[in-house]
């Protein structure tokens, strides 16, 4: 991923660095999960070529790769794995093979209820991180959102589509805690904010990711942004000079 930020007056220079840093960090996670997705797609292709059904047990070969993703992005990626399209597997109508990062006792496997008849049924096909790559065929950075299934925290999910022979078979992805993204951004944002105007990083839909002022909090929506913005290339995020501060 590359960045060409068209910086306005309040976000010149330093703003470009900030966007480049965060885009690169998230781009690295996208590249890692793309490797997992490619391995899954290869499994699907092999099954198709050998005319044998793809089964849940086949996913076991992906686990070392997923563990590698979590190890490589330790402290940044909180979880990773693959989520299969309905009926992509012969022996499971729906499947999530998702692991959360080592919390001292090795990576943990996410257990969710995928039985549509059950009271706790989790329909992942309606989530942004599943729906978007399925629709666009492109990687997606969903969030920030309250992930009440896996991390139970304020989270971004990066996901890449897995396509075998023109058929969408699911997504590979990783969770990144919003707190970690903020930690990375805050020093530079504070620097930018010193110009007398707050500096705010927002997602494509205006949700505040991080901000240099307590007046504009993460999670809120910036409904009337200031004039100067800089867009990140490859990420649907924008750096915004917030509204003029009332003296």
């Amino acid at each position: 991923m590359t960045v060409h930020a068209t910086s306005g007056p309040a976000v010149a220079g330093e703003g470009g660095y900030l966007l480049a840093d965060i885009t690169a960090a998230i781009g690295r996670v996208v590249r890692s999960v793309t490797e997992v997705g490619a391995a899954m797609t290869a499994l699907a292709a092999a099954a198709r070529a050998g005319r044998h059904p793809l089964r849940r047990a086949d996913l076991a070969t992906l686990r070392p790769l997923v563990a590698q993703v979590l190890a490589r992005h330790r402290g940044f990626a909180a979880g990773a794995g693959v989520v299969l399209a309905p009926d992509a597997l012969a022996d499971a109508p729906r499947c999530i093979d998702w692991w959360w990062a080592d919390r001292g006792s090795g990576p943990g496997h996410l257990e969710v209820d995928l039985d549509p008849a059950s009271a706790e049924f989790y329909d992942y096909t309606t989530t942004e991180w599943y729906r978007e790559p399925a629709r666009t065929g492109q990687p997606c950075v969903a969030g920030p959102y309250v992930d009440y299934i896996c991390t139970r925290e304020y989270t971004f999910t990066v996901s890449v589509p897995m396509v075998d022979d023109g058929r969408f078979v699911g997504v590979a992805g990783a969770d990144i805690l919003a707190g970690e993204v903020e930690r990375m951004l805050l020093p530079r944002l504070s620097l930018l904010g010193r110009a007398g105007r707050p500096a705010v990083l927002v997602s494509g839909n205006g949700r505040v990711i991080a901000s240099s002022t307590a007046r504009i909090l993460p999670g809120t929506v910036l409904r009337s942004p200031g004039s100067s913005t800089a867009a990140a290339d490859g990420l649907p995020w924008m750096l915004v000079g917030g509204p003029e501060q009332a003296a």
Binding site: P93, R94, D115, S118, V146, R152
Partner: protein, 246 residues
């Protein structure tokens, strides 16, 4: 994927491991009681044998023996194949569903209502302040799902999801977790007084609430959510009191 472990409070109390050496008839009695008391609902799928055995602290052989007895008693039905497993067959008993309510005092029910109102009210207020257009669309989808649900379990699930989504729309993991904990604790109770009743008023509340969130009217959203919870609490209190009048 195997059916998951039961996660609710009733499951935690029900499936605390038996003493070592627990025998099949102990397991049988325990499960039969749970079904008769309504802790396990009609049609509910039991966790996979290995997992249930683990939760009860017995071997799968012992568990299978107990399940066989429960089958002959007509309390459990086992279906094979995809979507199969062991399912609860509750005896036809009008009071069955109401029994969990008997263990709660009016004081406890009132307190649960207060807690729910605090969480749901604040979640609604913040959601109205922080919702995006796409969030409102998601909420509408969940409200629609609830409208289409007919079975009690489906309604309970759709209702819980809607309220959890509202808390998630508030962008607060803590409020969302609080809402989840509350629903797993009292979700079955909330829909208890609604058996066989008209659900239009509840649906109207939800529409008004989502409307207020969409209109970015935080105080109105909070008010509607609190009133909605208060009405549900009142119905539960009424039902609890009526148990003594019979």
């Amino acid at each position: 994927m195997p059916p998951p472990a039961l996660t609710t409070v009733r499951a935690r109390t029900l499936f605390t491991p038996l003493d070592a050496g627990g025998r099949a008839d102990t397991v049988t009695r325990r499960l039969a009681n749970a079904i008769r008391l309504g802790l396990l609902l009609d049609g509910e799928r039991l966790p996979a044998e290995s997992r249930l055995a683990g939760q009860l602290g017995v071997s799968t052989v012992t568990l299978r023996e107990a399940l066989a007895t429960l089958r002959t008693m007509g309390l459990v039905e086992t279906r094979r194949g995809r979507g199969g497993g062991s399912f609860v067959r509750a005896p036809d008993d009008a009071d069955r569903l109401e029994r969990p309510l008997r263990v709660l005092s009016l004081h406890e029910l009132r307190d649960i209502g207060d807690h729910r109102a605090a969480i749901a009210g604040t979640a609604a207020r913040l959601a109205a302040d922080r919702a995006l257009v796409s969030d409102v669309t998601t909420l509408r989808e969940h409200a629609e799902r609830l409208r289409g649900a007919t079975a009690l379990t489906d309604r309970r699930r759709a209702d819980a999801r809607l309220h959890i989504e509202i808390a998630a729309t508030a962008q607060s993991p803590r409020l969302t977790r609080a809402e989840m904990d509350l629903w797993s604790e009292i979700g079955d109770l909330v829909w208890l007084p609604m058996e066989g009743r008209d659900v239009t008023p509840a649906a109207r509340d939800h529409d008004l609430l989502i409307g207020a969130i969409e209109a970015r009217a935080p105080e109105r959203a909070r008010e509607i959510a609190e009133r909605h919870v208060a009405a549900e609490t009142d119905r539960l209190l009424e039902l609890r009191l009526s148990l003594h009048r019979r």
